[in-house]
Symmetry: C2
Subunit: 315 residues, 2 copies
């Protein structure tokens, strides 16, 4: 019997937190991402056949790889008898704070959904993908997988039950994204956070997230910059990323709308109202992190669409 | 010499916090409020000549009455040589959680501003009025005076420097507002709050305020209801208001969009999409608080405009 045809899906890198949106806000980048091929198999369950682009660092075991775990979760709820084979091509660096594990999980569930013809809605896909996050980061936080599935800018107001809300994307929002050559483990970045926060911090964080949502609805980048101040995660995590504070100061000095850590870091991004300004900020980030001894790589990007099937066999 | 003419201003009651917007969100009611008459005087400084409608409870001393302190602040910054006489007519009950002291301060600064022909902008008026709040509640929180000046729904994303943002008001937003006969001192309601909050509470509060702002921009009352959950102040303050929890449960059971405490309490409000539904909720509030032995009074209202001059002499 001829093997079943492969279906390939792509899921984008994501920037989460965005200042005051710790654990509840993220956006999908237009540029890089992970790709997963899926095909149905006659043997029930999930088998991850191959991972490339990870320099051999990721596990193939289907209970330890985020892509395989996400698809297992999908099958458990929506196709318990089905079998799926997967091949994962990493386009994103690991431990970068750009939602690398989330992109793998999302590409995998979108490819598997298409291969099985399930046509599940976004919430089901996010629910499955976030279980992949659990093995990758120890918690099923959906602030990367929700924007990776939906695209755009996404608020997650509730985890149980999962609620996701697509927010408006400003007309001219450019990001300079730089990943210093100094990996940060998500678990470490989480463990370093204080357990408790004083009342004024609670008020500031909420008020700024309210302002941020208002800035998005009014397409006001200056207001967005004003809102993108984080008193919760950034102060604790800044010390994990050599050169971050200097890079942030230099970007703001150069007129960046905002500059903060993406997710758990070390990736750092600055926002600008044009490609030219973002390109200038990328040079500043490059210079600062290189000066701090943690040269890495970066690119200029915009907000983009969510995970999608990119090649399917013709019938 | 004929005395200078009186100018009369009105400032509305306000509902602050609105669930997740503790200390940073409030709205102006259309209905009740305080009225202040002001006239210029030849002797510099502020003299409060008369207070009515307060059953003799408010101080006349110009360093202790919120209206007089607010106008003193106004003069200090904008007319240091001027003299102002005031008369305050309370339309709002004291210690109700409906921004009673803030309404006095706002009516006073608007009347004084008009009497002096200063024509100050809203931010200056709010800055002066919040100093009145300091003597009334021990802190210059602007979450009542900002909506009392601006009207509508107001977010206060920053205190230093003061920033206020007018948010969209939903098309059909009706409030059943009930003030149980059981005053709560603002200081007590503040002292009862925990000093520290765990990280998930910080995240929930911010995410819900983000959702609330999104609900306002999309004119979505159901989403507004989903957003109006407060894990910060309401759990601690509920115990200060006999009957609150039962009243809230009964309102939600009857289909209220939301039901929570206004400001420091004890006023409790429920939101509905029509006057009829709000009237039904008001009856429920009346019944529950009467049953709890703290009968008071209430009314149905909508969001209204801010403080304004209501009568000025013809020239």
């Amino acid at each position: 019997m001829a093997p079943h045809p492969w279906i390939e899906a792509f899921a984008p890198a994501t920037v989460s937190n965005l200042g005051p949106g710790f654990d509840c806000l993220g956006l999908a980048l237009r540029g890089p991402g992970d790709t997963v091929r899926a095909r149905t198999a006659d043997v029930p369950g999930v088998r991850l056949l191959r991972v490339s682009g990870d320099a051999g660092k990721l596990p193939l075991a289907s209970d330890r790889n985020t892509a395989a775990v996400a698809v297992q979760q999908l099958l458990r709820h929506h196709a318990p008898e089905a079998g799926i084979e997967l091949e994962l091509t990493k386009g994103l660096p690991l431990g970068s704070g750009l939602g690398s594990s989330g992109a793998s999980a999302c590409a995998a569930v979108v490819a598997a959904d298409a291969a099985l013809g399930l046509n599940l809605g976004a919430t089901h896909l996010i629910e499955a993908a976030r279980e992949g996050e659990r093995v990758a980061c120890g918690a099923a936080h959906p602030d990367n997988v929700a924007p990776a599935i939906l695209g755009g800018l996404v608020l997650i107001p509730s985890l149980h039950p999962l609620r996701v809300v697509a927010l408006p994307v400003p007309t001219d929002l450019w990001l300079a994204v730089y990943t210093p050559g100094h990996p940060v483990a998500t678990e470490q970045a989480r463990a370093i956070l204080p357990h408790n926060y004083p009342l004024p911090t609670v008020v500031h964080q909420a008020a700024r997230l309210g302002l941020l949502v208002h800035a998005l609805h009014t397409d006001d980048l200056a207001l967005l910059g004003e809102a993108m101040v984080d008193e919760v995660a950034e102060p604790a995590r800044a010390g994990l990323i050599p050169g971050f504070l200097a890079a942030k100061a230099a970007c703001l000095e150069a007129g960046a709308v905002a500059c903060t850590i993406s997710g758990a870091g070390p990736s750092t991004f600055a926002i600008a109202p044009s490609r030219e300004r973002a390109t200038a900020l990328l040079e500043i980030l490059e210079e600062c992190f290189t000066g701090a001894g943690v040269a890495g790589r970066g690119h200029v990007d915009t907000v983009g669409p969510g995970a999608r099937v990119v090649s399917a066999p013709l019938h």
